[in-house]
């Protein structure tokens, strides 16, 4: 029984250089909820973009619509210049790794990886060769004859990655592939996914709610909020220059310290800091990273140390300002050694640009 599926784009997908992805004006509603509210997203060839956001922000919906597993109510999708807006999932040529374990239980690891190749009518020798190569790539060359239930969670997800890449997909889609795994495996596999992705050069969309994961592996991170992209930028830019309050608060830890904006300058405590575009005018709250705050013991200081936590190379201290505001500071452990709980301190803030939001 051989049911071969026609695969219109197999010719274009043989090159692993990566294709550009263009999603325009995507709209999707479930009842009265706008899961996607006019999403525009562009991926450069070979780029890895991570969509980051809290649950219900629409990131998974965006990925599933790109995969063709869900229909958009409006908007277009094109990959490598080819319009895929109304092409069914099985003809889109996208490799996908799911959050839930998705290996076919009745097939061996090798047959799982070769499944997509079989559908494409590749010869038996050819698909065994290719599937074997893919398993070597994810470091599971020795597990070919095993079944899914004989593998650990991390191994299963690696096989799923190999299976998705075996078909030389136009785009690789990763839907929270690590969230079912324990912390140590998660970090290891995350780095491995990035290595493999850079190896094969496939344009990749990765969806996660874990910001550390996103910042660690992305070329660019897109932060989604209520069905829209709030900001899309390289991880370091996203971290240092959040465009909106949501991004500033969602990505990394932020203190919210009362501030007053005058022109291009924010007055935060005693410091004068440049403000980022999009900041509120007048009185507001400055979003200040804990590592931008340093504490200097000072009897005249306007804050009191509440707690100190030793984390190895760095320590985290919370201080209470005289107006009751709690501020978190991250310091070298050497600097933290001079602090005592209950002692008065002065806050010094690194003069990097801050986002000031309305109180």
């Amino acid at each position: 029984m051989s049911v071969s599926q026609s695969n219109p784009s197999s010719a274009s997908s043989t090159a692993s250089a990566g294709l550009a992805v263009e999603m325009t004006g995507l709209l999707r509603t479930y009842g009265s909820v706008n899961a996607l509210d006019g999403l525009d997203l562009h991926l450069d060839p070979g780029e890895m973009v991570v969509l980051l956001g809290p649950s219900g922000c629409g990131k998974t919906t965006a990925l599933r619509i790109l995969a063709g597993l869900e229909r958009q109510d409006a908007g277009t999708i094109s990959v490598g210049g080819r319009d895929l807006s109304h092409v069914p999932a099985n003809k889109r040529d996208m490799g996908m790794v799911f959050q839930a374990y998705s290996l076919f239980p009745h097939l061996t690891v090798l047959d799982n990886v070769a499944f997509g190749l079989k559908l494409r009518g590749r010869s038996r020798k050819d698909r065994r060769q290719r599937a074997g190569d893919m398993l070597d790539l994810v470091g599971l060359g020795e597990q070919k004859a095993r079944y899914a239930h004989q593998l650990s969670g991390g191994q299963q997800q690696r096989v799923a990655l190999a299976r998705a890449l075996a078909i030389e997909p136009a785009v690789l889609l990763l839907d929270e592939p690590l969230s079912a795994l324990d912390a140590k495996v998660r970090v290891q596999l995350r780095d491995e996914i990035r290595r493999v992705q850079m190896d094969v050069g496939t344009t990749t969309l990765f969806v996660t709610h874990d910001q550390e994961e996103a910042l660690a592996i992305a070329d660019r991170v897109g932060v989604m909020n209520a069905g829209r992209l709030d900001q899309i930028a390289p991880p370091s830019e996203l971290y240092s220059s959040p465009a909106t309050r949501f991004v500033g608060e969602f990505v990394g830890l932020s203190n919210r310290i009362p501030a007053r904006v005058e022109g291009e300058v924010a007055h935060v405590l005693d410091a004068r800091l440049p403000v980022l575009a999009g900041s509120a005018a007048g009185a507001g709250l400055a979003l200040v990273r804990p590592e931008s705050v340093s504490l200097v013991p000072d009897e005249e200081g306007h804050a009191k140390v509440a707690t100190i936590a030793f984390l190895g190379p760095v320590s985290r201290a919370t201080v209470t300002l005289d107006d009751g505001t709690l501020v978190l500071a991250q310091l070298d452990s050497a600097a933290a050694a001079g602090l005592v709980v209950g002692g008065r301190v002065r806050l010094e803030i690194t003069p990097s640009p801050v986002l000031v939001v309305g109180a």
Binding site: M1, V3, Q5, N7, A67, G68, L69, P88, A89, N90, K91, R92, D93, M94, G95, M96, F98, A100, Y101, S102, L103, F104, P105, H106, F115, G116, L119, R120, A145, Y147, H149, Q150, A160, R163, A164, I167, L173
Partner: protein, 260 residues
Amino acid sequence: MSGAWVWRVSRWLLLLAFAAFFLLPLVALLDFSTAVPRTGGRTGAAWQSLLEDPQMTAAIKTSLLLALFTVIGMVVLLVPTMIWVKLRVPRATRLVEFLCLLPLTIPALVIVVGIKNVYAWVTYLVGDSAMTLTFIYVVLVLPYAYRSIDAALSSIDARTLSEAARSLGAGWFTVITRVITPNIWPGVLGGAFISVALVLGEYTVSSLLNYETLPVVIVLLSKSDAPQSMAASLASILFAAALLVVLSFLDRRRRTPGGK
């Protein structure tokens, strides 16, 4: 006397009690079907006639074929439908379940009375053959087959498996035949076995529609040649039991790691 000892003894007593409950009637059947009246001797005549009596062999053939066609009809009808409902129209689940369980709530007698009119047309269109019972039997086995397949389908993540297959390029036909069905095979086999057992034992409908299936002939013969009818009963029970053993063996072999 320790608790474990009591436990072990009572376990054996229970086992023996149940074995006796199930096996004694079978032993009685065997005894009756092989006894020579008054002399106390043994004879295999009744068993031999199972293979020689044309009426009996025809009935056995009819029932076996009916079982086969019913299983094919059930699998072809139910398996794709249930997978489709599970993946594509989950809100129809309740409706399909209700429809499949419906035959259970209607007495066979009522079904026959209702279906007799329909069968006038069936005989007119496809001819008067006992094989036309397949249509009714497929309906009669639905509730049992549904339960069995539903359990298997609930035990796998059908949605994710189908989405994975589709992203790899599989159309719906391939998803159903090569991804989902192989993974619910134990449930399908279970449903098939129940169907066979049901068809081999179905009396009411075939008798009222005047078709000579095995149960009908067994009842018929019990009035003229009781030993032969007993032999046929025992044979059909043993056949169903053997089928169960074979099917569960097939099932186990599939699930053993490394077995294919």
